[in-house]
């Protein structure tokens, strides 16, 4: 995973310090765990607006 992350960032022109490679892999594993909390079927009806309006449209 660490090498894959390194390659993606390098392709975007970003130099990644060696010390960050393993840390980034761990962080992205944590992101994956959070991603697993998202149930996309529950989100389908929510239109994603480009501007965020607090207290806006009600059901």
């Amino acid at each position: 995973m660490a090498q894959g992350i390194h390659r993606i960032l390098e392709e975007r022109g970003i130099q990644v310090p060696e010390a960050h490679q393993e840390m980034l892999a761990q962080q992205m594993q944590a992101v994956q765990q959070l991603r697993n909390t998202v149930d996309n079927s529950q989100l389908k009806d929510f239109d994603m607006a480009l501007t965020h309006v607090p207290g806006g449209e009600r059901p």
Binding site: R12, L34, T37, V38, F46, A49, P54
Partner: protein, 472 residues
């Protein structure tokens, strides 16, 4: 010189300045004397502007003497986070990259404070580019917590929290993208108010994450926070996220009566995995509010389970978009922690970002439904007490957990939804202050302020403040 003056609030000082019992020059000197005495240790300032402050104070004195008193803020010394633009003055954003940057216009909040007659005496330390919550700044030095110099003051507005707590400024402003006003307010034992998104203009504030950023007051009292909100709030066409909703006389309308008020608690999210010392202080505050006649009502906001994902993805992605060019061209000029987080943001997918915005819509609706049943929601501001400077973990009931994972767990939902949220100290445990968070419905800051006012009147801190005598 009477340095005690610097320990007073705006609400205490303003009538004395108006009635010429205290001179703005005397007050500025008292605040600057505290900066001389404490800043060497605390390091809350990136730049102290002594001459400018005294000159401005002399002008305020002249105006007041000649009968041109401008109002509550006239002659009040303030220092602001070094992320807000002052025309023709440097703004570093706590970074090396912007070290030589000179702003060519005033931020809207700065313009409003200048018009109100505030005297400015410096720019405050912060987490680099506001992208972190420790204020352990690699370029300007670590800012220390006045309650315990070995601990962090929180961040990113750590200099603002520390300066207010150590009486090195009468009040300040912070910015808040995941909790950066409320976290240092909680850590330093002061009031921090993040208003509704769009209530205070962000024009002239360097962004961290456009859709999550807020500006708000950091003060010694609830009255001062209310006062600053009414001065700073209001529509600004220069800020595309500014909302044209009427502001109120928040300070004049403060009401400590909570009888009949319904206070919501979301136990499955906001009270899960909280350090016992913090939980005890917050539960005590809730009991006190019940004794005053408020009713505690459990609520459920199911999508909070996805809030951490949405906050992490939104903040990292937007911040990395803002800093992308510098991450490519001069990455070595970022501090290690900020560089790492910017790399993380480059790895999020477009789908992650869109889903995060969908989660925000869902959260908006669920919070709005909860506020049909309750007036405000109360929670701890942070699940832990301030950790030592340099630690990457926090202690929650004997477990060492990641600071990064824990720090915005309770404050982040306020940024995702844009709802108003305030942190108020509710006790001291093991020598450190505990913050309690009050969230309210959109554009109803008065509800949040009134509950905070009731808590302030309960004197849960029992007069305890940072012990400045131990600081040389």
């Amino acid at each position: 010189m009477n340095r005690e003056l610097a320990a007073q609030s705006i609400g205490e000082l303003a009538p004395k300045l108006r009635d010429k019992q205290v001179s703005p020059v005397e007050l500025a000197q008292a605040v600057l004397a505290n900066v001389d005495a404490y800043n060497g240790e605390i390091n809350a300032f990136i730049r102290v502007q002594k001459e400018q402050a005294l000159e401005s104070a002399r002008q305020a004195e002249q105006e007041i003497q000649s009968g041109n008193y401008r109002g509550f803020l006239h002659g009040i010394p303030m220092a602001l986070k070094d992320i807000l633009y002052f025309k023709d003055e440097p703004a570093t954003m706590g970074s090396k990259i912007h070290e030589g940057f000179i702003a060519d216009f005033d931020a809207t909040v700065v313009s409003k404070l200048k018009l109100s007659g505030v005297t400015f005496h410096g720019k405050l330390n912060m987490h680099e580019y506001a992208w972190g919550a420790t204020t352990t700044n690699p370029h300007y030095g670590a800012c220390k917590n006045p309650w315990d110099l070995s601990k962090i003051p929180g961040g990113s507005s750590g200099g603002s929290g520390a300066a207010v707590a150590a009486n090195m400024t009468i009040a300040s402003l912070g910015t808040d993208t995941g909790g950066s006003i409320r976290i240092p307010a909680s850590s330093c034992g002061i009031i921090g108010l993040k208003p509704t998104h769009g209530r205070i203009s962000k024009y002239g504030c360097f962004p961290l994450s456009w859709s999550l950023d807020h500006i708000g007051p950091m003060t010694k009292t609830v009255f001062d926070a209310a006062l600053l909100l009414e001065v700073l709030g209001g529509y600004d066409p220069k800020d595309p996220t500014s909302v044209d909703r009427p502001t109120q006389n928040y300070s004049g309308g403060l009401n400590e009566d909570v009888k009949g008020m319904v206070i919501g608690i979301e136990e499955s999210y906001f009270f899960k995995n909280v350090d016992n010392r913090v939980n005890e202080a917050v539960q005590n505050a809730l009991q006190q509010l019940e004794k005053l006649g408020a009713r505690i009502e459990p609520v459920r906001i199911p999508s909070l389970a996805q809030a951490e994902f949405a906050e992490l993805v939104t903040i990292t992605t937007e911040a990395s978009a803002i800093h992308h060019d510098n991450l490519v061209k001069q990455p070595e000029k970022f501090g290690e922690d900020v560089r790492f987080l910017l790399e993380v943001g480059e790895l999020m997918s477009g789908v992650d970002y869109v889903q995060s915005q969908q989660i925000r819509r869902k959260l908006d609706l669920e919070f709005a439904a909860a506020f049909e049943k309750v007036d405000v929601l109360i929670s701890p501001t942070l699940p832990f007490l301030s950790p030592p400077i340099g630690d990457s973990t926090v202690d929650i009931n004997g477990q060492a957990l990641s600071f990064l994972d824990e720090v915005i767990r309770f404050t982040g939902p306020g940024n995702l939804t844009g709802l108003p949220a305030l942190s108020i100290p509710c006790g001291v445990r093991d020598g450190m202050p505990v913050g309690l968070q009050i969230m309210g419905p959109a554009f109803q800051e008065e509800k949040v302020l009134n509950v905070a006012y009731a808590l302030e009147k309960l004197e849960l801190m029992q007069g305890q403040k940072a012990d400045l005598k131990v600081i040389r």
